[in-house]
């Protein structure tokens, strides 16, 4: 019985991944696909290893933008969600704006942001990332703040607890797992948004710029190497947020 669960959680996905990679390599060599269409996985790995410095430099720029956006968006999302939970009016005011933000392409704002902040500043990319992160953090935090169980509410009432005491003792701990869920969702959004924003202009530097420039100079192997770098960056953010979430929700079952 234990073997099947190990097979399930670890062996199966890894086996699938390995199978796909091998299939890919076989397809590239066997079907003789030209490198500019689809390089083989090993060719990409090679390019990645050869250009480690450049890829890391790009990862650093995009990563810093994503991180700043993540922090700014998360802080803003949490604060405004707390306000919205406390004051119905703020909830009503913010609701359509945040809902609209959730469904419109935020990156469309990138060009005007570059104009507003200057084309040499990274701020536009950070703002795009922040807006993308704000939405899930806001919604999830707001949801968490409204999850207090009636029996806990009655308990606090029976203790004649002040509103602040109730918040500190019951509302906030209940909301914490939801906040971290929002952060986890926002983490990968931050990376992708920061990267895509580079597509719309701004200073040189960052993975997005590197991908486009190497693609336009037909250096597709290098382009794929940068893509690999962006995957790693996204994974890094996601795993960090996931670890934080697991840590924070150890004991809260509800």
């Amino acid at each position: 019985m234990r073997e099947t669960s190990v097979v399930r959680t670890a062996v199966a996905p890894v086996a699938l991944g390995v199978a796909v990679v091998l299939l890919w390599q076989w397809a590239v060599t066997g079907l003789d696909i030209a490198a500019f269409i689809l390089p083989g996985p090993f060719a990409i790995g090679e390019q990645f290893a050869n250009n480690l410095d450049n890829v890391f430099a790009g990862m650093l720029v995009t990563g810093v933008n994503a991180f700043i956006g993540l922090v700014a968006g998360a802080v803003l999302g949490i604060i405004i969600a707390i306000l919205a939970a406390l004051i119905r009016l703020i909830d009503g005011l913010a609701a359509p704006i945040v809902s609209a933000l959730a469904v419109v392409p935020i990156v469309a704002l990138a060009p005007v942001l570059y104009t507003m902040f200057g084309a040499g500043a990274e701020t536009a990319r950070q703002i795009v990332a922040a807006l993308a992160v704000f939405v899930p953090v806001y919604f999830n935090t707001l949801k968490g703040l409204r999850q207090v169980r009636p029996v806990h509410r009655d308990l606090m009432s029976s203790y004649a607890a002040t509103p602040w005491q109730s918040t500190k003792v019951v509302t906030l701990p209940t909301a914490v797992p939801y906040v971290f869920t929002g952060l986890r969702i926002g983490s990968s959004l931050a990376v992708i948004s920061a990267l895509v924003a580079e597509y719309f202009g701004g200073p040189v530097g960052g993975l997005g710029r590197a991908i486009t420039s190497s693609a336009s100079s037909s250096n597709y192997g290098l382009a794929w190497a940068y893509v690999l770098g962006s995957i790693l960056l996204g994974l890094l953010f996601y795993c960090a947020a996931l670890a934080l979430e697991k840590l924070a929700t150890r004991r809260t079952g509800g």
Partner: protein, 315 residues
């Protein structure tokens, strides 16, 4: 005489703890709309207020520009933006008004996003069905599906176009817009597959057992139990997929340089920001429109599937 049935329920549910509010109906919805509109107005007011009071070079702290520049070129007045929409696109004699150009481009992008959404939803649903049916498939595929979303496919967009260029089956040849739709579908399939899987696995164990007692096969159980039960989970995923499809379409258009779409317009008009500050804002409104229409469409689907959402707790 009196009711002798002593309830054996474990919960003494005499009466609701709080009085049930009367339905407010129209008044409530109207008030919500007004507050919402007020929020948008306040946003506009904030824009103009900052423009009035903020420094013209913006606020720069330690090399990082924290607050934007307030010149008319960098931050045009709201009325400049709106007025610009009604003027012709270029100075040329036969130029159409801006709003028409933006509308056409928006519809074009909306169409591509719709195709991408349909493909993504179909693929997502199919994957979810496979993963629900075979636990091994779920364990093998789900991690990769989650991982797939960390890949900025946008980056691979030009390469997708190249692949497409190679495909020619008889009279069918791959067109550029299909690459855009493919990228949109890639972004759309993820939320649907995850949400649909969660929804398909959501029915009560009791209900599943009931189906088994009736000796009902997997397909019938799917149709009668799992699919209806999954509606509540599917709808938010569909909305997310619609938003993602729109974003994917817009960005892919930029990346591939597809003419006729709103993404292309965003880049094109951004170049004129120097002399024509209101111009870049028009396609932004257009893309907002596309996003809202997409979301509205999914809301419509939600309305049609109302019956399956009874007992759903508002998120």
């Amino acid at each position: 005489m009196t009711d002798t049935s002593v309830s054996l329920s474990t919960r003494s549910s005499d009466v609701p703890a709080k009085p049930v509010r009367r339905r407010r109906g129209q008044g409530q919805a109207g008030r919500r709309f007004l507050t919402g509109a007020l929020g948008v107005v306040l946003l506009g007011a904030l824009w103009e207020l900052y423009k009035l009071l903020g420094p013209s070079e913006g606020v720069v702290v330690g090399g990082m520009t924290l607050l934007p520049r307030t010149t008319d070129l960098a931050m045009p007045h709201l009325w400049t933006m709106f007025a610009r929409v009604f003027e012709p696109v270029t100075g040329a004699a036969n130029a159409i008004p801006m709003w028409l150009a933006v509308l056409q481009a928006s519809l074009f992008t909306l169409g591509i996003a719709a195709v991408g959404w349909l493909v993504g939803v179909s693929v997502g649903l199919a994957l979810a069905l496979i993963m629900q049916r075979f636990r091994l498939a779920e364990s093998a595929m789900l991690p990769w599906i989650i991982l797939s979303q960390t890949v900025p496919l946008i980056a691979i967009a030009p390469l997708v176009r190249r692949w497409g260029a190679q495909i020619e089956i008889g009279a069918f040849s791959w067109e550029n817009w299909m690459s855009v739709a493919l990228i949109a579908s890639y972004l759309a399939f993820f939320p649907v597959s995850v949400g649909a899987l969660r929804g398909l696995n959501s029915p009560d164990a009791n209900h599943v057992d009931l189906m088994r007692c009736y000796s009902v096969g997997w397909w019938k159980t799917l149709w009668r139990l799992r699919l209806p039960a999954s509606v509540g989970y599917l709808l938010p995923s569909l909305r997310l997929a619609a938003a993602s499809a729109v974003i994917g379409a817009v960005v892919a258009e930029v990346s591939i340089g597809l003419r006729g779409g709103i993404g292309r317009l965003i880049i094109e008009y951004a170049g004129s920001a120097g002399g024509d500050p209101g111009k870049p804002w028009a396609p932004i409104f257009g893309s907002i429109l596309v996003g809202l229409v997409a979301a509205g469409f999914v809301a419509l689907i939600g309305l049609l599937l109302r019956r399956f959402r009874r007992g759903e707790v508002a998120a």
